[in-house]
């Protein structure tokens, strides 16, 4: 938290985040209501969203959130990979971990850094949700109550989505020696991983359910926000637990 809000580098990252979200909110989310409800766009949007299975989003009373959700559900996982790429790496490289591990266990270190990153991403999610709610309320103050309810639900959904992504970066931080390398490995993991799984499936002719190891596997099924139940949260939660357990086991054996 202090690293983000009280260091030059952190504040710059925050400024970049705010700039990106200003553009998203101003140009896309802010004009969502007029776009979605315009006669010319309505039929096209219904056709397009219907084809994607997202027509339920058009029925939301706060249309700003429909656009917000479509952007945020892909933005925050990518942002988490980038923003949480240095949970331990630089401290390990510099030797600062040696001071810390004389005063805390490695489990506390992993859990503390993970929860810290999760808290930061949660705060940023809440800020963007709040900004969207304000935009909707400015358009129509009667939407404020509805905005808060939908915003809280989406914040929770987004939090569940980003949890395994942050846990993946925890694991990579133990394996690699720099934040940059952690991002590179994460990119390769998400870029080449599915190709390798497809190749294995093609070669062996069997489904090994290896795609379950990829965080974000449930995003496509929750995108429409239609007919969601508890089962959609199980995969990301299991992935998070598995990745954090792996991080702890690796960290226990790692030389620091």
């Amino acid at each position: 938290m202090i690293r983000l809000f009280n260091t030059k580098r952190g504040l710059l990252a925050l400024l970049a985040f705010a700039t990106i979200w200003f553009i998203i909110l101003y140009h896309f989310v802010g004009s969502a209501a007029s776009i979605v409800t315009s006669n010319t766009f309505e039929s096209m949007a219904h056709q397009l969203f219907g084809a994607l299975g997202l027509s339920a989003l058009l029925d939301w009373p706060v249309s700003e959130y429909a656009i917000y959700w479509l952007v945020a559900v892909y933005f925050f996982p990518i942002f988490s990979v980038l923003a949480c790429s240095d949970q331990i790496c630089s401290d390990k490289q510099r030797g600062t971990l040696r001071f810390i591990t004389l005063r805390s266990t490695r489990l506390e270190l992993i859990a503390g850094r993970y929860l810290g990153q999760l808290l930061i991403v949660s705060i940023l999610i809440m800020l963007t949700i709040a900004a969207t709610a304000i935009l909707a309320s400015v358009r129509d103050i009667a939407l404020f109550g509805e905005s808060v309810l939908i915003g809280a639900k989406l914040a929770f959904e987004l939090l569940i989505v980003v949890m395994p992504f942050i846990a993946l970066m925890s694991l990579l931080n133990i394996i690699v020696s720099s934040a940059r390398m952690a991002i590179v490995v994460a990119t390769l993991f998400f870029g080449l991983g599915p190709l390798i799984i497809t190749f294995i499936k093609y070669q062996l002719g069997r489904e090994f359910y290896l795609s379950l190891i990829f965080p974000g596997g449930q995003i496509n099924s929750i995108l429409s926000q239609n007919g969601l139940d508890g089962s959609h949260y199980i995969l990301p939660l299991i992935q998070t637990v598995v990745l954090l357990t792996g991080s702890h086991l690796l960290m226990k054996r790692t030389a620091i």
Partner: protein, 299 residues
């Protein structure tokens, strides 16, 4: 005296390289202990094992009755690991306060203790500076300060005075000497005169093996006198050999003589006779040492 460190048959291997091999020793509570050895002897590996930064390939280590990195050692064991740096983005005071809080201190106590250790290493004016704004020596002193937070029972300092100017190195030695009665220091350094001045015991590592575990205050060392002369005198060596009670004289290095003393003789009487001889002949000496120098004991 209670046992503080117990190392049993410890081996550490990095791939094909055997960094430590069958190291055995135990240390009791007491005066500072020196860890000495040539580069690559395994000193830093042993430090890292004792601190729990790495795991031994085989063997066991007990620190104050616990395995290294056990939470029971937090606040009781502290260390200055070689080349470890504080975070360059935060002030020294802030980081030390954070470490003190991790050790379980209240916020108020952590701030107070931070001021205490910063004053001990003479960094009061730089307390609110970030490490990146300080010189190498000041950064080193800041990392020494973190090792002194709270009331540790064991403090391990790996090359604590390396890179420090003579005045600051002297101050660090003074801190060690001042607290040696309350804290068990383990020091690693290439400066043998520094270790000789501060330590009573020496662990000598070579090629990953513990070659010697020497007690500098043993009675054995009383059978020797080391004399360093300021100049070379042709008649000096024969005169030394002719002295009563001196059984053997070795020229250990340029203008340095190691006198072996007859166990039946009173060492003080020989020292007085030696000084009288030097005065009578107007031979200038630089140093008279009771016993062997650490260098002569080890090499």
């Amino acid at each position: 005296m209670s046992l503080i460190i117990e190392v049993e048959n410890v081996c550490k291997r990095y791939g094909d390289k055997q960094a430590l091999q069958g190291v055995n020793f135990s240390l009791n509570q007491g005066a500072p202990v020196a860890l000495v050895g040539p580069n690559g002897a395994g000193k830093t590996t042993l430090f890292s094992l004792l601190c729990g930064y790495i795991q031994p390939t085989s063997g066991s280590i007990k620190i104050l009755g616990h395995k290294p990195a056990n939470s029971a050692l937090f606040g009781r064991l502290s260390a200055l690991p070689q080349d470890a740096q504080l975070d360059p983005r935060f002030s020294i005071a802030r980081q030390l306060t954070f470490y003190a809080r991790l050790q379980g201190m209240s916020k108020k106590l952590a701030l107070k203790d931070t001021q205490r250790v910063i004053a001990m290493v003479g960094l009061e004016d730089a307390a609110n500076s970030r490490p990146s704004e300080l010189s190498h020596g000041m950064r080193k002193r800041a990392t020494i300060a973190q090792a002194l937070l709270g009331a540790p029972e064991i403090v391990m300092l790996d090359e604590a005075t390396a890179g420090l100017d003579p005045i600051n190195a002297k101050e660090i030695r003074a801190i060690v000497a001042e607290h040696a009665n309350d804290v068990n220091f383990i020091l690693s350094s290439h400066d043998l005169s520094e270790l000789e001045r501060l330590c009573d015991q020496v662990l000598y590592l070579e090629s990953g093996q513990l070659k010697q575990h020497t007690d500098l205050n043993s009675k054995e060392s009383n059978r020797f006198i080391t004399l360093r002369m300021k100049q070379e005198y042709p008649e000096f060596l024969p005169s030394l050999m002719a002295m009563q009670g001196v059984t053997h004289v070795t020229v250990t290095q340029d203008r340095e003589y190691l006198l072996s003393i007859d166990t039946q003789q009173n060492t003080v009487a020989i020292e007085i006779a030696l000084l009288t001889m030097l005065d009578k002949n107007s031979w200038l000496y630089a140093q008279l040492i009771n016993g062997k120098t650490l260098e002569n004991q080890l090499f």
